[in-house]
Amino acid sequence: MTGALRFLEHHAVLYRRTWKGTIFVSFVSPLLFLAAMGLGLGSLISSGPVRTVDGVSYLAFLAPGLLAATTMQTAYVETTYPIIAKIQWLRTYDGMLATPLTIGNVVAGEISWLAFRLTMVATIFFLVMILFGTIHAALAPLAILVAILTGLAFGAPILAFTATQRTDNAFSVIGRFIITPLFLLGGAFFPIHQLPQLLQGIAWLTPLAHGVALARGLTTGRITSSAGVDALVLLAYATLGIIAANITMRRRLSK
């Protein structure tokens, strides 16, 4: 395990230069979204005929969903371009693997780094939620863990996929056809049960719907009966992703 720690020092050296910027972005982005959509759009809903969404204010409905959707986006960004750069463009891993570090250390290190970044993003997001008064349950801080797990459920499989790529062409496809549609339609902004039947089915196959449902249950205090299943789905995606990443990275880097 010390190998993975040594690997993380590389990230730490680089992050020393950029951490302020990342914290600023992690803070401003939820601030803007919750102000515009939660308060702005939310005021229209609360003065309209339905008043609430699934029994809570629109702001309280939106915030936890957005929390999970945001860690999904962070995971996508962290496991695509920066990883192929280190595999192929800069060959950083080749240099590292000429030392006692192993491919297992590299994968464990990247997953740990992703978990660290997700923790930062989710925690800051949660603080913004407190500012907006959208925390309504004692178990709410667990939503941070759910958000981290949601990020890993996307990040680990994407990392495994990235290790199979020779170019970055597929990354924009993933962004346009998976991440952005999920962000907009995957349950963060409106309930999934308002989607057409087919799309509902698709949405529940992805980790996001489960992450959103779980986080929303925790912060609104309305935990659903399927919470256990939601958690298992997230864990399964993350675990299988990590196993797959070990396989594809080994294939790629040990030629």
């Binding site: 040594r6 590389h10 050296v13 800069l90 000429a98 030392t99 006692p100 192993t102 040990s254």
Partner: protein, 314 residues
């Protein structure tokens, strides 16, 4: 793979070592031993299997067959332990462009679990050794090719390796930068570091290697010291003749009895002989009028030509 018997001093021991990529046999059952303290070379053209061999020695690529031991250990099971004692200079620099010059050395030292104080001291010493101390705080990208190469070499030395692997250490460098690299490698050799390098430059092999193997098409075709290989496969001198390309004269029979061997290349004719001047005079007597003649000593290039019928650099 059973643990191979280790010869007294051999740092690297290979028997029947092979590497296969799908359908391509990159290394075909080669045998060699590298002794402690020597500079050992793999000489051959691009695609001969040199880099694949180096990657197997460096424990990043598993052999497809045969025996290989490095520092008395098995590269498949002891990779991290072996790599802890190796220095690797890969063919393409893998410097970290996101890190500054000194950070490249410092973070690399940390991968070897080196305490921070020691890592800082090694960084300073090595920058001095490769004459980059004044660039310590600079970005890596603007450095010249020679400087990047020297930084890569410094990085490979960070763990004070017993065995230094260099894949094409001076390819792409200008002559001055090459000599600077050679000078540093020579100093390392004097300090007792065992050096294994690949090259397709015969002058590099002659300058640096105590012993070398010539590789061609995945196989070793000859081995020995540069001097011994030249003695064995070539003559003392070579007479190089260039003829007018527009009106090449008929040379049939003109070289009869003048040389041990004649190579007719697209741009010149090589006569392998013990006495180049005498052969040139005799040719003149037979009425052969080349545009230019040159008498030189045999080199490894001639050895390679003899062994494979091709030039090293095509």
């Amino acid at each position: 793979m059973a643990a191979p018997p280790i010869r007294s001093n051999a740092l690297i021991h290979a028997r029947g070592l092979s590497k296969r990529f799908d359908k391509l046999l990159a290394v075909d059952a080669i045998d060699f031993d590298v002794e402690r303290g020597e500079a050992f070379g793999f000489l051959g053209p691009n695609g001969a299997g040199k880099t694949s061999t180096m990657r197997m020695i460096g424990c990043v690529s598993a052999p497809s067959g045969g025996e290989l031991s490095v520092l008395g250990m098995n590269p498949i099971t002891d990779g991290p332990r072996i790599r802890a004692r190796l220095g690797v200079v890969p063919q393409a620099d893998t410097l970290d462009m996101e890190l500054r010059v000194e950070e490249n050395l410092f973070t690399y030292a940390r991968y070897f679990d080196m305490p921070r104080d020691l890592a800082r001291r090694r960084t300073r010493e090595l920058l001095e050794f490769v004459q980059l101390s004044d660039r310590a705080k600079d970005e890596v990208e603007p450095l010249s090719g020679g400087m990047k190469r020297r930084l890569t070499i410094a990085r490979a030395l960070v763990n004070e390796p017993e065995l230094l692997l260099l894949d094409e250490p001076t390819t792409g460098l200008d002559p001055q930068a090459r000599h600077l690299v050679w000078d540093r490698l020579y100093r390392l050799k004097q300090r007792g570091v065992t050096i294994v390098l690949t090259t397709h430059y015969m002058d590099e092999a002659e300058q640096l290697c105590d012993r070398l193997v010539v590789m061609d098409k995945a196989k070793i075709v000859a081995s020995g010291s540069p001097r011994k290989l030249i003695d064995q496969y070539s003559t003392r001198e070579v007479l190089e003749l260039r003829f007018s390309i527009d009106a090449p004269p008929s040379l049939d029979g003109k070289f009869e009895g003048l040389a041990d061997r004649v190579e007719v290349l697209p741009d010149r004719v090589l006569l392998y002989t013990q006495d180049g001047e005498a052969a040139a005079a005799a040719l003149h007597g037979r009425g052969v009028q080349p545009e230019s003649t040159l008498v030189r000593r045999s080199t490894l290039e001639d050895v390679f030509l003899r062994l494979t019928g091709r030039s090293l650099i095509e």
